[in-house]
């Protein structure tokens, strides 16, 4: 990693005076830029403020972990970054794509061309084999990997023709990762990818994600409840009650194998 830049951070975390960061180093080339991002869900009379003014930048090839208590707005933020949902106000851009004012079609194109998703519940198509689940994506974009190659990257070259029901949870999640990376996305967004897995399986999954980040230079955001995982990251972003509580830089990035739960 070269040339870190200065990133402004919100006042709350600053005031709490933890290791913050008026001087956090990030890579020179910001790909995600968010300013005063707000998201309000309306359910009948009730308004839920899921994001209350969030600003940050994420640079190319960065590995960022999102931490925070349940309900703090992590998924909401990830969904907005991935073009699954739109913000109520503020700004988010992916390079020069405005994600706040984009139309449904533009968002679909954005997801198709730039983003890879890994979901907590894998969301594989049960009637398709591992290979076919990956094909779903390689079919959509030019310059994609071959499904076999993507599955090889996550160590599943032996399970190409298994249906999801014939795979363990960890294997299913690795298929989901293969599916997400097969199109060589510029960013990989994972919402609690190890949430439903045991430690060892979770580690395998994380290894796969880390490897993609290292070898393909994919900008990676991972939501987790597990602070240990954050030791794999370049930076850690903590959310609390819809705000960024803290952004910290990881002094020494560990490989997944070195993580201790």
């Amino acid at each position: 990693m070269s040339g870190w830049a200065i990133l402004p951070v919100d006042g709350a975390a600053h005031a709490r005076g933890r290791r913050t960061a008026t001087e956090i180093r990030v890579t020179a080339e910001p790909v995600f830029v968010a300013r005063e991002l707000r998201k309000i869900y309306r359910a009948g009379e009730v308004e839920v403020h899921a994001l209350r003014g969030v600003s940050f930048e994420i640079c190319r090839s960065e590995f960022v972990v999102l931490l925070g208590p349940s309900g703090s707005g992590k998924s909401t933020l990830l969904n907005i970054l991935g073009g699954l949902d739109t913000a109520s106000s503020g700004e988010v851009r992916w390079r020069n794509h405005d994600l706040v004012h984009a139309t449904e079609q533009e968002l679909t194109r954005y997801r198709r061309e730039h983003v890879g998703f890994v979901f907590q519940f894998y969301n594989l198509i049960p009637s398709l084999t591992a290979r076919e689940n990956v094909e779903l994506v390689t079919d959509l974009v030019p310059r994609a990997m071959r499904p076999e190659e993507a599955l090889g990257l996550v160590g599943l070259e032996g399970r190409l023709d298994h249906f999801p029901a014939q795979l363990s949870g960890g294997e299913q999640q690795r298929v989901a990762i293969a599916r997400a990376i097969a199109k060589r996305p510029e960013c990989l967004l994972c919402d609690e990818p190890t949430g439903a897995l045991d430690i060892d399986t979770g580690r395998l999954v994380l290894e796969a994600i880390g490897r993609v980040n290292r070898e393909l230079g994919t900008t990676t955001l991972v939501i987790t409840h597990n602070a240990v995982i954050s030791r794999m990251a370049d930076r850690i972003m903590r959310l609390a009650d819809g705000r960024i509580a803290e952004i910290s830089v990881n002094p020494e990035k560990l490989a997944p194998a070195e993580l201790h739960w």
């Binding site: 998924s75 949902d85 679909t108 997801r111 519940f121 594989l124 198509i125 049960p126 076919e132 779903l136």
Partner: protein, 786 residues
């Protein structure tokens, strides 16, 4: 193959039982539509081709005795292309070794071969020689029914003289596709058509150089009413018995009515089937999409556009409907061929080629595709509306609330299982409602297919028992003085005798007119009482008319209005007669007057040309023995035989119809019940497995699931009975022709049959689902959280 296509195929395979049941319902609709409409179109074109090749007349006229030279004058009427005169008459028929009395019509053949108009087709044997005084050709229907063939003998009572004749050949004529005694039912076994040599009939009826019947062919575009008016003027002086166009020709009228019914059956019932199929598909897709919410959201997140995902589900619908349509095309072709063959055999058409017109296929396929799109529309809309962010959420637990029963504090009365069932049904209000509608429709369809038996029984009861109290109806060759009535009353076995007078008339009210018979009866006629639609007796009064209610409507008159009555026979003058009341006859469109009034119309005082008799059935043989030899008796109709024949033919047609419809309805019933049970099972597999783990027995678990289905069926049955009644009423309304009205009567046995068919289908479906519950793999079920 693209991954989504592969998913489609695997989903179809996984849902195969449901796919097949729905496809069968679609097939029933498409098959019924194509079968009925292609039969209709085939019969219409066979009929028209037959009429064309036989040069069937456009206008027909009958007279008492018209001189041959009139032919030239008729030919000169503008628009007339050809005219052919002949001699025809009604006869009594006796066959060796047959006691019962039969009637028939004799028609003179030209010197050589067939007439130019109303060509006769020889089916077997040979033509008559010009001077053949002992030979006769017989129509095929009668020949079949009575096993007559060249060489057989028949005895005809022609104008008071017995003629013993030998059958030379068997023939067909477009004029007698439906051979029927005047005003009676078509009865091939008791009414024959006989062609004799012209010389023979001319001698028998004393018609040398004269004719009493003529058929005309008109130029294309000629005005039929104008030709009829000109003919009436020409023949007025020769005892015209009326002129009528092809539409009113009795055989053609009956034939067209019967063919027309195909169109009603071919459109109403398939529409019901298709509606049910769309409903089933709709539920299946809604359920399918609900289980695949996360997959759909994931596909969207991966960058699949709404359109491709929507198309994926639309394709599922299209494949199911396409499969059904394909089966339906086959079923329709078979059904069409079979029915066309059945009918052409019944009508004795000389050829019976089935064909299907491209538009019928196009409409069937088009409607099916529209249905598929319609069924998928809701599902596709749900797909489009589903936010992709959903993929990030865990599946949300369903919302339940306390049921109405519980809110009414009756809940405590129910066991746990019942509460679960009720909550589930209430939560899925729409689907519950749709299932109920689906089950109800199949009950309704069985009813619509079987109630005809009840209706015909009622029809027979009303028309042939309550309105017609005579045992035997005698038609006289000519109007006779009441002395003939007294003579009849003295025949052996006769308990009572009443005379009637039929006069062919044209009824006219401004622009509306109709040709029928006025029947003159004694004011206190007991063998033919006048009854209104509610079977309350009506009184015949001097100087007034009673009309069949349908005829009154056709002529746009009501009681109190007056009508012009023009006699088409005899020397009477047209007169303006007030309409007194309406009768509720279910068959025929008739007018009634007192016998004296009718006779006055015809120009005499009180003559009769029909006699109704009550007879001691033990002395029937004796009666026939004597009656058959009375020359003025043109025909003797036996009511018991009439009823028996009517029953037999209507039952034959009904059984086919009922069978086909019940099979189709069973498809629907199985489709609906099986699908709703399967869907419920899929949705609850997890829950049911959990209950099993908690220690519920298989029986208890099955009861929760099948109880839901059972409850829906229980609710659906009464609704289905109501719907069936409505559908029967619709069919009766659409099918009722001018000639008859079908009474809307559905007996308990019909409801019971429909309910049994439904329950049978339900039990079969339940048994299959129960087996699945028993084999429910606990581990797998608990793993697949939907």
């Amino acid at each position: 193959m693209r991954p989504l296509q592969r998913k489609l195929l695997r989903d179809l395979w996984r849902l195969k039982a449901q796919v097949l049941t729905i496809a069968l319902v679609v097939a029933s609709g498409v098959g019924g539509f194509i079968g009925s409409l292609s039969t209709h179109a085939s019969l219409v074109s066979l009929r028209d081709a037959y009429y064309d090749s036989a040069r069937f007349g456009h206008v027909f006229v009958a007279a008492r005795r018209a001189p041959q030279r009139l032919e030239a004058a008729i030919r000169a009427i503008p628009g007339v292309v050809d005219v052919e005169t002949t001699i025809a008459g009604n006869v009594m028929v006796t066959l060796p070794d047959t006691v019962e009395s039969m009637t028939g019509r004799v028609v003179a053949l030209p010197e050589r071969g067939t007439p130019r108009i109303n060509r006769v087709f020889l089916r077997s044997g040979r033509w008559l020689e010009p001077d053949d005084a002992h030979g006769v050709l017989v129509n095929e229907a009668f020949a079949r029914a009575r096993h007559l063939e060249p060489g057989s003998r028949v005895t005809l009572l022609v104008n008071g003289r017995f003629e013993s004749l030998e059958v030379r050949g068997v023939a067909l004529s477009p004029e007698y596709v439906f051979a029927a005694a005047h005003g009676g039912f078509a009865d091939d076994t008791r009414f024959g058509v006989f062609w004799l040599s012209h010389a023979k009939l001319a001698a028998a009826y004393d018609m040398e150089g004269a004719f009493n019947s003529a058929a005309l062919r008109l130029a294309r575009g000629a005005s039929v009413p104008r030709v009829i008016a000109a003919l009436d003027r020409l023949l007025a002086a020769y005892g015209s018995r009326g002129t009528y166009a092809r539409e009113d020709q009795p055989s053609n009228r009956a034939l067209s009515q019967e063919i027309g019914e195909q169109q009603v059956f071919g459109t109403v019932l398939p529409a019901v089937f298709l509606a049910v199929a769309i409903f089933l598909l709709n539920v299946l897709l809604a359920r399918h999409i609900a289980t695949e919410r996360l997959q759909i959201a994931a596909l969207k997140a991966l960058g699949y556009a709404n359109r491709s995902i929507g198309l994926h589900y639309l394709a599922l619908s299209l494949v199911i409907v396409g499969l059904g349509t394909l089966i339906g095309l086959g079923v329709g072709a078979l059904l069409g061929q079979w029915m066309t063959q059945l009918y052409t055999g019944y009508f004795f058409f000389p050829v019976h080629a089935w064909h299907v017109e491209p538009w019928i296929l196009a409409v069937a396929i088009g409607v099916a595709v529209l249905g598929a799109v319609g069924a998928a529309a809701g599902a596709v809309r749900a797909v489009v509306r589903l936010p992709p962010a959903e993929a990030m959420h865990p599946p949300a637990p369903a919302h339940f609330r306390r049921t109405l029963l519980e809110r009414l504090h009756l809940g405590r009365l129910l066991p746990d299982e019942a509460r679960m069932i009720l909550r589930e049904l209430e939560r899925r209000k729409l689907r519950t409602a749709l299932t109920v509608v689906g089950v109800a429709s199949s009950v309704a369809i069985v009813i619509a297919g079987t109630w005809w038996g009840d209706a015909f029984d009622r029809l027979i009861d009303i028309e042939l028992h309550r309105r017609e109290r005579a045992d035997v109806i005698v038609a006289l060759t000519e109007a006779e003085t009441p002395a003939a009535l007294h003579a009849a009353a003295r025949l052996p076995g006769v308990l009572a005798a009443e005379g009637s007078r039929d006069v062919p008339v044209r009824l006219r009210n401004g622009p509306y007119q109709y040709r029928t018979n006025v029947t003159g009866l004694a004011a206190d006629a007991r063998l033919r009482p006048m009854l209104d639609a509610d079977l309350k007796p009506l009184l015949l009064v001097e100087g007034a008319l009673l009309l069949t209610d349908r005829l009154a409507r056709r002529l746009h008159v009501r009681p109190g209005d007056a009508l012009w009555v023009e006699p088409l026979e005899g020397t009477g003058q047209p007169r303006l007669v007030p309409v007194a009341l309406e009768t509720g006859d279910l068959m025929g469109m008739r007018a009634y007057m007192t016998r004296r009034d009718a006779a006055a119309l015809a120009g005499d005082s009180d003559n009769v040309n029909g006699i109704r008799l009550r007879i001691d059935r033990n002395r029937l043989g004796e009666f026939y023995e004597r009656a058959r030899s009375i020359p003025v008796f043109a025909s003797i109709g036996d009511k018991v035989l009439m009823v028996r024949h009517f029953r037999a033919t209507s039952r034959r047609n009904l059984l086919v119809f009922t069978g086909v419809l019940s099979a189709f309805a069973a498809c629907i019933a199985v489709g609906v019940v099986y699908n709703s049970a399967r869907i419920a099972l899929a949705e609850h597999a997890w829950e049911l497995a959990s209950l099993r783990v908690l220690g519920f027995t298989r029986g208890e678990v099955s009861w929760i699931l099948l109880g839901q289905v059972g409850l829906q069926i229980l609710v659906a049955i009464p609704i289905g009975c109501l719907l069936g009644y409505g559908l029967a009423a619709l069919l009766a309304e659409l099918i009722h022709g001018e000639e008859f009205r079908i009474p809307l009567v559905i007996l308990p046995r019909t409801y019971a049959f429909a309910i049994l068919v439904m329950l049978g289908a339900a039990l079969a479906s339940a048994a299959i689902v129960r087996r699945r519950i028993d084999r429910l793999n606990l581990v797998a079920a608990l793993k697949t959280r939907e």
